[in-house]
Symmetry: C2
Subunit: 403 residues, 2 copies
């Protein structure tokens, strides 16, 4: 069996910690594991750095920037892109947190905003530089807003004597009446209380009408002067999904059969954010644990078939593989230093506060790829916890966007 | 006393380890220390992130991107830029190793070259991708060439099964008849032997006539097909020096009096690579230890004057400060894993090999700014030494230059 991994990056990215790269808590290298190192000795996996342009399903061929690749089985796991709701204006003026470059660009922008605030003489321009609007109160928006509020307080207190007496304005805009939709109500309320306690201005039932020229306009007409808009309002299917002539749901996710293969092409599997499958009457969420379990499942279905364990009932037909079943082990979000919400899967229990935060740290350390990255993350978090001090404050290039 | 530090970067860069960022041994964050953190509690130093455009010496005013700054005393320490000998073609087609962005760009280029070599079907294009030309056999060129030869061997043996049997061609071009000019002859010869032993193709008495379109042409007519040219052939004065109407030497360095001040403007001091001063009949070298000692000296001269210890002999005149004297404590260069050359200052002794390498490691750890960076560098070097494995292999953006 010959396994070829195609990716346009040469690293695996651990997205759940990307917001910590943006707020300077972690070096970018910690959340990105080089793929060739993961698949080294005798793994049987080859890697090619390339961009996939299209899949010719009937010819069983992937069209890449470095030529075509024929396949017997295909697993599509190209993820999702930030959902700007089709608004070019938001895409151009807002930062998002999908890729490693996005996170570094956002960190540069945050640090530049503080530098500008420290230099300008005009008070309204200083306030504009210190105003940060985050759109979307899901886990990414909540975790980033909390981390940014704490970073801002640290920076003003220690690094920017010019800003003594000033305060950053971290505004979190959520269109629903609550934060953290996937979580039970008590956890949502805890998150809201904690965020407000550390100084985040949370606006519920609010959405963004326009964002340009240093200003965000909400649907209710309120205007916020800002130079930094962070878009965390959800994801939509990757353009690769749109290019395929297969059945999709409203969000552009590709509908798969219970064994994760395509109805029309049983040799093609779709896993992760690209795939659409319902379980117990609800769509599976676009989360890393679903993707990881689905990836393993698709691999097993393919192995079963390759080993002839699912012999075709009729010639030319393939028996469907075992149905995929997502086992929800729980989910968590950090609100700030020493506080998090943690929902356990299955039993329905949940906890908040310091213990939830420690659990979160431990689990994320385990999920980081590579012993070395775990050691470095532990060091970073240890230094930060003991000294209340984010580690990475470099402005590494001029990549500013002004919202 | 009010001290204002102007810099166009928000970090202090430890240039001697920059080549290790380029070859993936160290994360970029380790060699860059945020300036605002260095000058925090009660240091009396303010910082402003800005680019200095010009100095109006007669008005005692620095013109910056964020407005003018008046001064009583000025210390110019803007360093040097890579010397491309006025050849726009070299500047455009070659990588250099002066700034943090240069090092990251070069690392991206190296990793992309290996990825391309692994994909192309044409053998000559594969060889071109695996050919790396380094121009300049000073410490930077030697250290980078040695590290690249070792990195290439690691990568081909472990990460690129597609390249089994292939070998990278690391070519080091030096116009003098020996490497490492500042070092005594036995050390130069040791470095040459060691570099050749680890597979570096060292060409002495050779210089580059042209570099473009995937090809380098030497003065003797030889042509080398390559996609990566690294320029380490020396430095020249920063453009800021050129803009000042004061006496300069041939290389554009600003001539200073023995106390490091300007003849025409005794309130202006120049230190580091920008300054030109002779000691015992020879110009002081453009090295970090000279710059560090000169910086301290200029500060002391200013403090003495400010405290009235060098009262003016005549009204309107300033007595010159104590003359600066560089104390050469030695210098070192790493050739490869477990081997270095180390010249002690003063006594004239020197050592080579493993002990020199350990000394080099220890000293560079000490000179790294910040406890945390030292811990991380030690970890990186430890991991790499034990596992023969460079740490950082990310391609973080598409920033390719083709030489």
């Amino acid at each position: 069996m010959d396994v070829l991994l195609l990716d346009r990056h040469n690293y695996h990215l651990f997205q759940p910690l990307l917001y910590q790269v943006a707020t300077g808590s972690l070096e970018q290298e910690i959340v990105a594991a080089p793929l060739r190192r993961l698949f080294r000795r005798g793994s049987g996996v080859r890697f090619r750095l390339t961009e996939v342009r299209h899949v010719d399903l009937s010819a069983r061929r992937v069209i890449t920037d470095s030529g075509p690749v024929d396949y017997d089985y295909l697993i599509l796991a190209a993820g999702s892109v930030t959902n700007f709701f089709g608004r070019e204006e938001f895409r151009r003026n807002a930062h998002d947190l999908k890729g490693l470059d996005d996170a570094v660009r956002l960190r540069n922008q945050l640090m530049q905003a503080f530098e500008r605030a420290a230099q300008v003489l005009d008070a309204s321009e200083r306030d504009r530089s210190l105003t940060f609007v985050i759109v979307g109160g899901g886990p990414t928006g909540v975790e980033f807003a909390g981390a940014l509020a704490e970073l801002s307080r640290q920076l003003i207190a220690r690094d920017y004597p010019e800003l003594a007496g000033a305060a950053a304005h971290v505004l979190l805009v959520e269109s629903l009446p609550h934060l953290l939709s996937p979580f039970p109500a008590p956890l949502r309320e805890y998150a809201l209380r904690r965020l407000r306690a550390i100084g985040v201005d949370v606006q519920l039932n609010a959405s963004v009408r326009a964002a340009a020229n240093g200003r965000v306009i909400l649907e209710d007409g309120r205007e916020i002067e800002t130079r930094t808009v962070v878009w965390a309002a959800g994801v939509s299917a990757t353009p690769l999904a749109a290019s395929l002539n297969v059945s999709k749901n409203r969000n552009g996710r590709i509908a798969v059969r219970p064994d994760l293969s395509l109805t029309e092409h049983s040799e093609v599997f779709v896993v992760g954010d690209m795939a659409y499958l319902e379980q117990d009457g609800a769509p599976l969420p676009q989360l890393a644990p679903v993707a990881m379990q689905a990836g393993r499942h698709a691999a097993h279905v393919i192995l079963d078939r390759a080993r002839g364990r699912s012999a075709s009932p009729r010639p030319g037909q393939v028996r469907a593989g075992r149905p995929f079943r997502y086992r929800d082990k729980g989910s968590a979000a950090v609100i700030g230093r020493g506080s998090a919400v943690f929902r356990f899967g299955g039993v329905g229990a949940s906890i908040t506060g310091f213990v939830a935060w420690v659990l979160w740290l431990g689990l994320h350390l385990l999920y980081l790829v590579g012993f070395r990255n775990r050691v470095l993350a532990l060091l970073d978090w240890g230094f930060e916890y003991l000294r209340f001090d984010a580690q990475v404050r470099l402005i590494t290039s001029d990549s500013e966007r002004t919202g």
